[in-house]
């Protein structure tokens, strides 16, 4: 029976109000129990993960397969090993969880990818005049491996590592993008995007090493004017080098320049 009057004391509560309140309190107890259990499990897990990364820090650093597996495992359990790696002290890109993971995983994983990202940026900058800001991931890897410092100089770096390192730069604002060209993957470090025609020509160049206007006409069915326009664009963006000593002017991808 519902009471129309509200007042203090037990009579203020109707039956349904009492049971609703009881359910609410019971639910709350359950939730807080769960939360407590979860917090306990989490802290056990945190400790384990932290120890794991410390114990295997050396392996993570030196063994690219192990590193890839470790990254895969992290992703599988919903942890981004790089979250918060570039943000010191603040909440990190993943909210509160960011820096917590960074702390647990230990500095070595973050350091490795961060240092690698810095090296990648350096290589892109150093080679920009030569390749117009398009460089193959594999070429970046070769150059880094030849270099000195914590990265390179004997540490195995894979193409995978490089792409992962670049991802960690995303929160810092773009400027670096992976562009697939044919079967290769390139890093574009200049803001200008390639249109479809330009990408197509660069892809053809990846396969054949160089192109001529006639080759583009023959292989792509383009009109001469179109082929010339695209080539002119690529030259203007310093993406290709010109060889005028062949029977017909040849346009070369700088990717071949330092091979071997």
């Amino acid at each position: 029976m519902a009471s129309n009057r509200r007042g203090v004391g037990l009579s203020a509560f109707s039956n349904s109000a009492i049971s609703a309140d009881q359910y609410a309190r019971h639910g709350q107890t359950l939730r807080s129990n769960h939360a407590e259990a979860l917090a306990n499990q989490l802290s056990v897990f945190q400790a384990a993960l932290h120890n794991f990364s410390l114990t295997h820090a050396k392996d993570i650093r030196q063994n690219p397969q192990f590193r890839a597996e470790f990254a895969r495992m992290c992703h599988a359990i919903g942890v981004d090993p790089l979250a918060g790696s570039n943000v010191k002290g603040s909440a990190g890109s993943g909210g509160k969880t960011g820096s917590v993971w960074a702390k647990m995983l230990g500095s070595s994983v973050n350091d490795f990818y961060f240092e690698l990202a810095v090296r990648v940026v350096e290589v892109c900058r150093e080679t920009r005049a030569e390749n117009g800001g398009m460089i193959a991931v594999s070429e970046v890897r070769k150059r880094i491996e030849k270099g000195r410092g914590i990265i390179g100089g004997g540490i195995d770096v894979t193409d995978d590592d490089i792409e992962r390192a670049l991802e960690s730069l995303v929160p810092l604002g773009g400027g670096f993008k992976i562009v697939p060209l044919g079967s290769s993957r390139f890093i574009r470090s200049v803001p200008k995007e390639l249109n479809l025609d330009q990408s197509t020509v660069l892809e053809v160049m990846q396969i054949l090493g160089h192109v001529t206007v006639s080759m583009l006409q023959a292989n792509l069915g383009w009109e001469r004017a179109r082929a010339i326009a695209v080539i002119d664009d690529l030259v203007a963006d310093s993406l290709v080098w010109v060889d005028s000593q062949a029977d017909e002017t040849e346009y070369w991808s700088p990717a071949a320049m330092h091979d071997g």
Partner: protein, 212 residues
């Protein structure tokens, strides 16, 4: 470091020298075959690039090639009429840098802003374009440091050496400047004279040099 005559070990760069030039001079001075960098097999390398950004990079690579090649072969001077066959050309890919382009490259390298690694040698007639140039894989200042350092470390300060001795003497057989063109050596010595570190007596090859 004492200079040894006819030592079996290949000559090496000594620490008495000034800091190495920005282009990396490999210590390949002793090996007989010059290893050409991969970009010398890249056909466009021999075409002056129309894009100026690309060209700037190309000229840097030419500067590196020129200085390392000349350092390896101990060439102090280049003459446009008698260029080494495979310096500005790669016969295996049938590519050559044209004469006008060679001049453009050397002009570019002669600018102090670009390292000043080349200096044209003036011809007797003003209207003629110079046909030969010094290649400073070490600049005159760097050579001055090297020679003075050698004089100092071998305890020859105060002694009088002949120009010939400094160029060709037994004591300098393992030094980088051995066989240097006399004209260049005099240039280098005048750097030391200006610094107050040396004085030259007499003329020609019998001229004597005293270091302080």
């Amino acid at each position: 470091m004492a200079s040894s005559s006819s030592s079996p070990a290949p000559p090496t760069l000594t620490s008495a020298y000034a800091a190495p030039p920005p282009t990396s001079i490999s210590s390949q001075i002793a090996s007989t075959t010059f290893t050409f960098p991969t970009y010398t097999s890249f056909p466009p390398f021999y075409t002056l690039q129309p894009n100026l950004t690309t060209r700037a990079r190309q000229l840097t690579l030419w500067s590196n090639l020129l200085t390392t090649y000349c350092a390896h072969h101990r060439l102090f001077k280049l003459s446009l009429s008698f260029l080494p066959a495979n310096l500005f050309a790669n016969p295996s890919i049938h590519r050559t840098l044209s004469q006008p382009d060679i001049r453009t490259v050397l002009d570019h390298l002669a600018l102090p802003a670009n390292g000043g690694r080349v200096e044209w040698i003036p011809t007797s007639s003003r209207s003629e374009k110079p046909n030969s140039c010094w290649v400073y894989w070490r600049t005159p200042a760097e050579w001055a440091d090297a020679i003075y350092g050698w004089v100092d470390e071998t305890g020859q300060k105060g002694a009088v050496l002949t120009v010939y001795e400094i160029r060709e003497g037994e004591a300098v057989q393992s030094q980088e400047w051995r066989g240097m063109d006399e004209e260049l050596l005099r240039k280098v010595l005048s750097v030391l004279v200006k610094r107050g570190k040396a004085q030259i007596f007499g003329q020609e090859e019998t001229a004597g040099v005293k270091f302080f």
